[in-house]
Amino acid sequence: MTLLAGADLSRAWALSDRVSLREESFGALVYHHDTRRLVFLKSPTLVDLVRRLDGYDNALAAIDDVIEEAARPRYQRALRDLIDSGVLDGR
């Protein structure tokens, strides 16, 4: 489940079927049913990105479509963190 910190964002990723996601005003709460960990998605933009990953074979392409250029490194880091915590699974 947990991958290396430098997870390969050029692959296809999607929200794990082991998590529940609930939107809140600040973004979303994600609960991982296996690890019993709570994870915060700290902006609605990140929630939107995570939800749209499903439609891409390459997560970097999803970031390019959804996120403005200057902010892309930040969102790459955010996705890697979510991969590390098992919120995103490889497809």
């Binding site: 529940s20 609930r22 939107e23 809140e24 005003s25 600040f26 709460l29 609960y31 049913h33 019993r36 960990r37 709570l38 994870v39 915060f40 700290k42």
Partner: protein, 370 residues
Amino acid sequence: MGAESSLRTRFERGLGAPICLTWELTYACNLACTHCLSSSGRRDPRELDTAEALALVDEIAAMQIFYINVGGGEPMMREDFFTIVEHAVARNVGVKFSTNGTRLDAAAARRLAATDYLDVQISLDGIDAATNDAIRGAGSYARARRAMDNLKDAGFGPFKISVVMTRHNVDQLNDYEALAAHYGAQLRLTRLRPSGRGADVWDELRPRAAQNRDLYHWLRARPHVLTGDSFFHLSALGDPLEGLNLCGAGRVVCLIDPVGDVYACPFVIHDQFRAGNVRDAGFASVWRESELFRSLRELGSAGACTSCGSFDACRGGCMAAKFFTGLELSDPDPECVFGHGEDALRSARERPAPTPDHSRRVPLSLSSRR
């Protein structure tokens, strides 16, 4: 699961639904622990029936509440215990349930082991029978250990050993760690609160100030030890402990009691903190519309704590601990690590009586039951 301060402020203003809630299934209990938060003992004839309980699970699932902490009383005293719990799990609502273990026989252990999304916490308030039974009653240590043996034999996996910290068991923490390792279990430590019957023993059982400091450092060195965010008042001692480090009452958590009354948190079963009842218009309307919860979500004055440099670390501590020791909610926590609580206690009003009280009228011993 650390949260930066801007996120914490959002939590203090309340969420669309709780992250989790505590649901006490019954006030019935076959033990009579001296520190019982809910003054449990006798079943209340108005308790939710099976159909009502299952409907409440459905509402919890619809609100996407991630998990429920099931307690009591002793939840396994309910004949429909497994029906309710298995319904929750089937609806993708995780269950963490707390038990004294007395009814957790080999068959129950196997059934629990076969259920996903379910955590079991067995209460053990002393590392030996003498320490534990002084609080939880004669024979309770042996029966809790037998329940742990049953879970281990059933291959349940890492269950939790749940300990309320007192001045008699803080010094046993390393032994607890060894016991947890023996079972492959996780340790979960929680704070003794002056709630329910706990009000009667708080002065004599609560850890001393030096023990609380030891506990803080012990926990800082062991971020894997669970606390249910219990000890955030100790975070004023330095770097924050694991957890959200805020009072979640009516903001990110709440309590549903056996008769469907909704309280701000498991530690304030008192009329003053009752937000409504699920039988009236459902749980969601209580959570979203209760005047009490709305007021708890307004960031009130920090009172005397405003001028303290550590307020951002401890947020003034636990609302329940203040209320039941007669302090104002804007006062420091009675166990403030800088001793400001002691000062406040000297001018506190009379301590409020806990309501309601389901304690048994006559004490009973374990051996007299069943």
